[in-house]
């Protein structure tokens, strides 16, 4: 048991660095920043897997050792405890006067044991009656609770492991009006656990009908996000209207669909000099602040020369001498699309992956700059840009974790076990009648309450005389 405790404390200590250094799976940007600011230190830390701490081999090693050690501790004790069920308490010791709460009673021997047995049984003690003595014990459930708690911990560890081996987790950005089909190719990114197969995915489809965000007019803080979707499971069956909110995901068995983030996609139409439509549609922009000042990029590789637009979308446009143009409220009240138009080589053929939200302007030159109101057309020389409108987008996280139900059961049993073991008092009481009447008791771990119990027994036994 000492080993298990030491391993548990090691697990606690080992988890500390993960809260002090950024983690790749939580905040990859912060990790990159850390590498930029402390290159040497970062390399060393990376060798120790500090940036992927909770999936690192050494962290897993502690975790697995703890798991084995816990099993090694708890299983033998469980068997022992099961064997002890229904067994009688141990014999009365020879010298009672060494025990806690020892007392000699002022009463005749006759009938004492009968009376004591009755009282003990009424108070739900296990009673072992011998010729001249009784030994009684109560509070076996302390150990039962204790074992239940530790067995539940094992169940939780198993559930966590199952979550790591089975299941999947992915994200997708959808504009209002878009349709999503749950296959790996529909995701912006998805990761599968080791033993998860594509065929295990729930075959549902979603159509984004409407997204509403409301904000507090005083603080600009969001007060509610509501997403309406038409969902079909399996694909092709009748669509059902469903609502998804931040704290109430859409659930299909072990798969849940969460509303994680939202923003705006301005809708634009771009024509070349001849008036031919080059591009028309919604472009997803990334929010930069609480008022949803959003940035994005419109790339037109098919025009020659290539055109790239670095753009921002302001839902409620405002202007200040220090900040320039910015958004002063997250809802669309007075929208603007700010574009700077660049001409040259977009660098898309270089093979280096590019962000869809940014334009690499190193091989381009700027040919125009404009702030557009809704339905305004801007002629940038090589063509025209029409700011047609905007749509909301939502970021959905879709998670399949088959282990979590077991973790929940584990957690519930752990609490029940803990309560039982911490609030059950285990104690023994003895009565001996060899010429005189003696009683005594012993409480495990010195828990209080034994004295009162002995006093009550004494009263009952002595009360007979009167």
């Amino acid at each position: 048991m000492r080993t298990a405790l030491i391993l548990l404390m090691m697990l606690g200590l080992a988890s500390i660095p993960g809260s002090l250094f950024p983690q790749r799976n939580q905040n990859p940007m912060k990790v990159r920043e850390f590498f930029k600011n402390n290159p040497t230190l970062a390399q060393w830390l990376d060798k120790a897997k500090i940036f992927d701490l909770y999936s690192s081999p050494w962290f897993s090693a502690i975790y697995i050792l703890l798991f084995i050690s816990l099993i090694g501790c708890v299983l033998p004790r469980t068997f022992e405890h099961i064997k002890a069920i229904g067994k009688k308490p141990p014999l009365t010791p020879k010298f009672l006067d060494r025990m806690e709460g020892f007392a000699e009673l002022d009463r005749p021997v006759d009938g004492t044991l009968d009376l004591a047995e009755k009282w003990l049984k009424k108070n739900r003690f296990r009673v072992r009656r011998e010729e001249l003595s009784i030994s009684a014990e109560k509070g076996y459930s302390r150990e039962s609770g204790n074992l239940l708690f530790h067995l539940s911990l094992i169940l939780i560890l198993l559930a966590v492991a199952a979550g790591g081996l089975y299941g999947s987790k992915g994200e997708t950005i959808l504009n209002v009006g878009d349709r999503f089909i749950n296959t790996p190719t529909s995701y912006d990114n998805i990761s599968f656990a080791k033993f998860q197969r594509e065929g295990d995915m729930v075959p549902f489809s979603l159509r984004v009908l409407d997204f509403k965000a409301s904000y507090d007019v005083k603080t600009n803080a969001p007060t509610d996000y509501t997403l309406q979707v038409a969902a079909a499971n399996p694909i092709g069956s009748k669509e059902v209207l469903k609502t998804i909110k931040v704290n109430s995901p859409l659930t299909y068995g072990n798969t849940k669909i969460y509303l994680q983030a939202n923003g705006y996609s301005p809708v634009v139409a771009i024509r070349d000099k001849s008036g031919k439509l080059i591009f028309e549609g919604a472009v997803t922009f990334l929010p930069q602040d609480g008022n949803l000042t959003s940035i994005g990029a419109i790339k037109l590789p098919d025009m020659s020369p290539q055109i790239g637009m670095v753009a921002s979308f302001l839902p409620t446009a405002d202007r200040s001498p220090t900040r320039g143009a910015f958004s002063s409220f997250p809802e669309v009240l007075d929208p603007r699309l700010l574009v700077s138009v660049w001409m040259g080589d977009l660098g898309l053929d270089s093979g280096v992956p590019q962000s869809v939200y940014r334009v690499d302007t190193s091989k381009m030159k700027r040919i125009g700059l404009k702030s557009l109101k809704l339905n305004e057309i801007y002629n940038f020389g090589e063509g025209t840009l029409l700011f047609e409108g905007y749509k909301s987008w939502v970021n959905l996280q879709i998670v399949d974790d088959p282990g979590k139900m077991y973790a929940l059961f584990g957690a519930i049993f752990a609490i029940l076990g803990l309560l039982t073991s911490l609030f059950t008092r285990q104690r023994r009481i003895w009565i001996k009648v060899d010429g005189r009447v003696q009683i005594a008791g012993l409480a495990k771990n010195g828990v209080p309450g034994l004295d009162e119990e002995l006093a009550a027994l004494k009263k009952t036994l002595e009360g007979l005389e009167g």
């Binding site: 987790k169 996000y225 931040v246 704290n247």
Partner: protein, 298 residues
């Protein structure tokens, strides 16, 4: 009454509570400092013994009144925003102070704990003082991520656990101070009225054993909430990590006492360590930390 009036009323209640706790603090200070004279002088002179006792009783009365006002302040704060009053660090702090002084008053019914009034009133005043000066935020609605029944369940369990953990810490610290005094040849006069080392040792253990299941529940409730809001029940977010560390530290403390038979000094130090991981989680992670609990911060 409008939300704004309720918010003002809440602020006034909290200022009044601070005023009452200040009186309690002085009353307890008088009780402690004058009991020096009492024990030294009382044999020769007719020094009025009841004088310090009365100061102590005034202290307790002020603590109860302060608790009532603080309670009203917390409730009004919630009423002003039509929600449970646990949306930011200001609100956590005032509720935490409430839980802490509540735990003290609750324990006062059962044990002779009045001597703790001095440290408790100092701690409550410090917490409230920081809350109203540094952490204060106007009453506002909740962000969508916090709109869940689990807010009430998870946060209240965490706050109550915190209040009791810190009370156990205060007692463990008192134990260590008195222990040192006795080692150096006996308690100072003022400390003679305080309970025996054994009582303190038992008391801090009992508080921890009592509240450890609640803390376990707070962590589990948080995990259930995280599952429904963030898509995973455990993600080693800094707050989660430190909640786990606190849990491990108290688990170690309980095992050390029950199984390894630790008592006294070693146990008190372990208790202090475990409590400080809780404080670290509250202060450091809320203010400097990153992760998904940040809206709970400033």
């Amino acid at each position: 009454m409008t939300s704004r009036n309720l918010a003002y009323l809440s602020n006034y209640s909290i200022y009044s509570a601070m005023f009452l706790y200040t009186i309690a603090f002085f009353a307890h200070a008088v009780e402690v400092s004058f009991s020096v004279k009492t024990t030294e002088v009382s044999e020769k002179t007719s020094f009025d013994f009841s004088r310090t006792d009365r100061a102590g009783r005034i202290g307790t009365a002020m603590m109860i009144l302060g608790f009532i006002f603080l309670f009203a302040g917390v409730i009004l704060r919630g009423a002003s925003a039509h929600r449970v009053p646990w949306g930011n660090m200001y609100e956590f702090s005032i509720t935490g102070a409430l839980a802490f002084s509540g735990a003290y008053l609750f324990a006062l019914v059962k044990y002779k704990l009045r001597w703790l009034g001095l440290p408790v009133s100092i701690a409550v005043l410090l917490t409230l003082g920081t809350a109203v000066t540094v952490l204060y935020r106007p009453s506002a609605p909740l962000v969508p991520a916090l709109k869940s029944t689990w807010l009430a369940i998870h946060v209240s369990a965490a706050i109550v656990s915190g209040g009791v953990f810190l009370l156990a810490n205060t007692i463990a610290a008192t134990y260590l101070i008195l222990d040192r005094m006795e080692e150096r040849g006996g308690r100072s006069e003022w400390a003679k009225k305080l309970p025996s080392l054994e009582t303190l040792d038992q008391l801090s253990y009992r508080l921890v054993a009592f509240v450890f299941p609640l803390w376990t529940f707070a962590v589990i409730a948080g995990a259930i909430w995280a599952e429904s809001a963030w898509g995973r029940y455990w993600g080693w977010d800094p707050k989660e990590t430190w909640a786990f560390i606190t849990w491990v530290a108290y688990a170690a403390y309980l095992h050390a006492r029950v199984t390894a038979g630790w008592r006294g000094r070693k146990a008190a130090w372990l208790c202090l360590f475990a409590g400080s991981t809780f404080l670290f989680n509250y202060i450091y992670v809320n203010i400097y930390g990153t992760g998904r609990h940040t809206y709970s911060g400033l």
